[in-house]
């Protein structure tokens, strides 16, 4: 008798905990802070600067979500995660949202019970070698020692690539970017492989960046994007549409600088809906009506975020390429905001 009461209570508690866990949006609002899973430090994408403020391409998306949900882009706590710990951190509720160069794959979507809500960077895996190695193609890497970060899709792609080309390699499996970079610079491996954007970011921090070359082969598709827990669709929608709002803003020419002017003068109905001047689109997500306007004002549109953190002219120096808007021949395309 006692026992069944005990287990009943237990089941009820677990159920309540489960329900509470499902409504991430309410949790974030109640907490007044967004917990965002970030990189341990990848320049340009997510890394703390000298004074400890997080900055980067992925970091700005977290800030945009915080601005939309909480009204303040600084109400974010960045939780550094490694390739190994990131999904566990998200599943266990340690973070509300993971924006950390994570590749969208079917098994992560299904088996790991995660939801990738968008692709904020279309990437592919590449190789970096020292210039004096005299290698101009990844297919010349037969017998090479390759440094690779564990817990990522890259180690599987690497194995597939070498097998398909019928060449051999010696893997050196390291746990994070900085260790991979140290080993690569020390000459413990001939080539370093990760997402091409990551290679560019790594190279930017090297003292002799001009002596390293990124090989032309891109051996995989790496759509990187924000991840939320499976089963909380409303929260997924909030993150997805915050991201799309940034894309639409770029498409419509709305920037952090001119957002107020545009709001006052625009005749475009979609921009009005986006900025909360007409309709109740924000409320449908459980947010304020001007939630997305706050995001754009805080971090700028997608193009601004890109060029500020990783675009041409920065140390990372990446071209828009696949990440240009669809109107400019890229893949970045937002569904209509209505």
């Amino acid at each position: 008798m006692k026992k069944s009461v005990f287990f009943g209570a237990l089941a009820a508690t677990t159920l309540v905990a489960g329900l509470a866990g499902a409504a991430t949006l309410d949790d974030v609002k109640a907490r007044g802070e967004l917990l965002c899973g970030s990189n341990t430090g990848l320049t340009g994408f997510g890394a703390p600067d000298a004074s400890g403020n997080w900055a980067g391409f992925d970091v700005d998306l977290c800030r945009a979500v915080a601005a939309a949900v909480l009204g303040d882009a600084n109400k974010v706590k960045f939780v550094p995660t490694t390739g190994e710990t990131r999904f566990t951190a998200l599943q266990s509720g340690e973070v509300d949202l993971l924006v950390r160069n994570s590749t969208w794959t079917s098994s992560r979507d299904s088996e790991l019970a995660l939801d990738f809500v968008a692709v904020n960077y279309y990437d592919g895996q590449g190789f970096m070698v020292k210039k004096d190695l005299g290698v101009s193609s990844a297919k010349e890497l037969d017998g090479a020692t390759v440094c690779i970060q564990t817990g990522t899709t890259t180690e599987l792609n690497l194995a597939d690539f070498f097998k398909q080309n019928n060449i051999s390699y010696q893997p050196v499996t390291v746990s994070d970017d900085s260790e991979a970079q140290r080993q690569y610079l020390a000459g413990a491996c001939d080539a370093y492989t990760t997402d091409a954007s990551g290679l560019a970011a790594s190279r930017a921090t090297m003292p002799d960046a001009e002596n390293h070359v990124i090989l032309p082969e891109i051996i995989s598709k790496e759509p990187l994007g924000p991840v939320v827990r499976h089963g909380d669709n409303n929260w997924g929608d909030v993150v997805r549409w915050t991201y799309y709002a940034l894309l639409i803003a770029e498409e419509k020419g709305v920037t952090s600088a001119n957002v107020e002017e545009v709001l006052a003068s625009t005749t475009d109905e979609e921009v009005k809906r986006l900025l909360g001047a007409s309709g109740d689109m924000g409320a449908k997500f459980g947010l304020d009506n001007d939630a997305f306007k706050r995001s754009i004002a805080a971090v700028g549109n997608y193009g601004e975020i890109f060029s500020r953190n990783i675009g041409e002219g920065t140390t990372i120096n990446l071209a828009r390429g696949l990440n240009a808007l669809w109107t400019q021949g890229g893949l970045q395309y937002a569904p209509p905001f209505r």
Partner: protein
């Protein structure tokens, strides 16, 4: 007895469970047991509920899926088409090989240092004290990282070995050269040592699960037979000595029996060395002993040897001075006194704590992850866990395996301990 028979027979009251000393201990034990069972049930229930809430089920089916990743050091053949279970086995073998070598080297080094620490030579004993204090008071992880960094930073890159035509024309020497008659190359990635090849080898016996290298097993069988025959020779020599007082000369028989058959077999199979040569980026051929393995082994050996040295010193000091004094009185020299009188007795004190050092060493191999050594922790608990997302299953399986290894080491060492213990008379 009279107390018991005089006990009131007016039945059992519930309050007796608490106030009667005959029942109280049972009551407490049962209550604690129930609470413990409830705690375990709560934990299990919690786990099951949480797994269910996340849409995960508890099963080990992932072990039979394709692994898809490569492993640098493999003692049995493996490629990325094999399943996760095979990758687990590779990792397990890597764990075991470093643990076995570590235990052997640490024991040898530890015994030497422990004995030398008791040396009457002031300098030697102080040096050994410094060694012990230095190694056991710094975390093992730091020693592993230090040996790895030293190995990979001070050794030349493979391309430093390269000799180009221009260099030959200019009469220049390459920046680095191979050692031991050009058979061993130490690069900043690992040590390339020659491997044995057989022209007329016996091939491999494929058992489906593992394929046995018949050359290796044939040599092992011949060696075992030789050692066995050698033991018979020594035993018969001892019997002759006890019967007649004269020990027959056996050393040439031993050499004959121990070496000739193996050499004959090796020559018959067409033995030659596969010497590593620089091709492309790395040395090809031979065996590559990666620095991650060497660094881990060196650090584990040096660190554990410091503890073993202390155990050995304690064991020796536990033997009363009268033993060595008696031996000296009989005219035994100090080193024979140590080998024949002190160490055999000290072993009884040494072995039990030595077991826990072996267990520590074995478990400490999991720190190899810091230098990218793919042992059990690196394969099952690292890449497999990450690629499949089965944290609970992988961790439980890994704990179970480490537990089994430790229990096996304990069992073997306890058997040895029983064999050297004083027999009760």
């Amino acid at each position: 007895m009279t107390m018991a028979t005089d006990a009131p027979k007016d039945g059992f009251r519930l309050s007796m469970l608490v106030y009667d000393t005959r029942y109280r201990s049972y009551t407490i034990q049962i209550v604690v047991l129930v609470l413990f069972a409830l705690a375990v049930a709560w934990l299990l229930n919690n786990t099951v509920q949480n797994l269910a809430a996340r849409g995960k089920e508890f099963n080990f089916g992932f072990l039979w899926q394709r692994a898809g990743y490569d492993i640098g050091q493999q003692l049995i053949p493996y490629n990325n088409d094999d399943n996760h279970f095979r990758a687990l086995l590779i990792g397990l073998l890597n764990t075991i090989v470093v643990a076995i070598f570590g235990c052997i080297f640490a024991t040898i080094l530890g015994v030497i240092i422990g004995v030398l620490r008791l040396s009457k030579n002031w300098l030697v004993s102080r040096l050994m004290t410094i060694y012990v204090e230095m190694f056991r008071n710094v975390p093992l992880l730091l020693w592993i990282l230090l040996s790895y960094v030293i190995l990979s930073e001070v050794t030349p890159q493979p391309r430093d070995f390269r000799v180009t035509d221009e260099m030959v024309a200019a009469g220049e020497e390459p920046a680095a050269s191979m050692m031991l008659f050009d058979t061993v190359a130490v690069t900043n990635r690992g040590t390339n040592i020659p491997s044995a090849l057989f022209e007329r080898g016996l091939g491999k016996l494929d058992l489906g699960f593992v394929s046995l290298n018949l050359d290796f097993w044939a040599i092992l069988a011949v060696l075992a037979a030789s050692v066995f025959i050698n033991l018979r020779i020594i035993r018969s020599a001892r019997a002759t000595q006890e019967a007649t007082g004269v020990r027959p000369v056996t050393w040439w028989k031993s050499i004959l029996v121990l070496f000739v058959p193996v050499i004959a077999l090796i020559v018959a199979m067409g033995f030659h060395l596969d010497i590593p040569t620089l091709q492309g980026f790395n040395f090809q051929g031979g065996i590559l002993v990666a620095h991650s393995f060497t660094a881990l082994l060196i650090a584990l050996t040096l660190y554990t040897a410091a503890f073993i040295a202390e155990i050995v010193r304690a064991g020796i000091q536990a033997i009363s001075r009268g033993q060595s004094e008696a031996a000296f009185a009989l005219g035994l020299r100090p080193n024979r006194t140590m080998n024949l009188i002190i160490l055999p007795q000290a072993l009884r004190v040494i072995i039990p704590p030595l077991i826990s050092q072996y267990l520590n060493l074995t478990k400490n191999t999991s720190l190899g992850i810091a230098v990218s050594y793919l042992d059990l922790r690196g394969t099952l608990g690292g890449i497999t866990l990450n690629q499949t997302g089965r944290e609970l299953e992988c961790m439980l399986l890994m704990m179970l395996i480490y537990l089994s290894i430790s229990l096996m080491i304990s069992a073997v060492m306890n058997m040895y301990n029983n064999s050297v213990q004083l027999k009760a008379r």
